[in-house]
């Protein structure tokens, strides 16, 4: 769509500071992008490796349990929880609820705290089960 140059852009485009709502909004995009690209590539590779045979699966496990692999896996676990929680927040906002400033801010902060907690919980349980 072509922009009508006679109409103003947002007058306050350069006057802003970070707030929880903005942070969660951009994190939703970033984590969604990471899950879409790295997450689904990993899921597909994992299924392909299981299907292909013992050697392919061993290669997958070797790389996944390397230092870089573990950093990626922990990062994707956090991305999963953050996107899940901020996704729930978006579904609530879609219904028209949760726009009051304090509620909105609280819900945004809770998604961040929740995703960090659930990532830690996942790996504490995971290390007990998978190690």
């Amino acid at each position: 769509m072509t922009r009508n140059p006679d109409r103003p852009l947002s007058p306050h485009l350069t006057i802003w500071k970070w707030g929880p709502g903005m942070l969660v909004s951009i994190l939703h995009r970033l984590t969604g992008g990471a899950l879409s690209v790295a997450g689904l590539a990993l899921l597909t590779w994992w299924l392909w490796a299981i299907a292909t045979g013992a050697t392919a699966y061993e290669q997958f496990v070797t790389l996944a349990t390397s230092l870089v692999g573990l950093i990626v896996l922990v990062g994707l676990t956090w991305a999963f929880w953050q996107h899940l929680l901020s996704g729930i927040r978006h579904l609530v906002l879609d219904s028209g609820a949760g726009f009051e400033l304090r509620t909105n801010r609280l819900f945004a902060v809770l998604t961040i705290a929740g995703s960090l907690f659930l990532t830690a919980l996942t790996w504490v349980i995971g290390m007990g089960v998978w190690a």
Binding site: G33, T44, L47, I50, G96
Partner: protein, 129 residues
């Protein structure tokens, strides 16, 4: 604001916005988000409940309907949700119509290609050779 009491008549908003269309896309993004949420939790909890992540254990798990069917649904719904989400990002940041269509096409190809590879792999595990 509920759907029924929307303050702007539908006729005035259809076709506007950066994607120029979109009620069905918007709704599908939300339906696949709910499906991906449930199936993603299912995958994570399943992986934590399995006795180990050895290939034999995983193969046995994905041979049964209780493993194979949700996994197939997860592959389908997660790829659709990912492609829908990435297309929304493209709509917001890419303003040249040609580039936008090209990127949409590439995302569609990548999504269907990746999803097919995932389903093929899963079928190969489930119907094992």
């Amino acid at each position: 604001m509920s759907v029924g009491t929307s303050s702007t008549p539908l006729g005035q908003v259809r076709g506007t916005g950066s994607a120029h269309h979109g009620g069905e896309h918007w709704l599908r993004e939300r339906l696949t988000s709910a499906a991906s949420l449930l199936l993603g939790l299912w995958l994570l909890i399943s992986l934590l409940l399995l006795p180990s992540l050895d290939r034999t254990i995983l193969t046995e798990w994905l041979r049964g309907a209780s493993g194979a069917v949700p996994m197939a649904l997860l592959v389908v719904t997660a790829f659709i949700h990912a492609v829908d989400g990435l297309k929304t990002v493209v709509d917001d940041y890419v303003h040249d119509e040609g580039s936008r269509l090209l990127l949409h096409g590439m995302l569609t190809f990548a999504g269907i290609g990746g999803g097919s590879l995932g389903l093929f792999s899963l079928a190969r595990i489930a119907f094992g050779v």
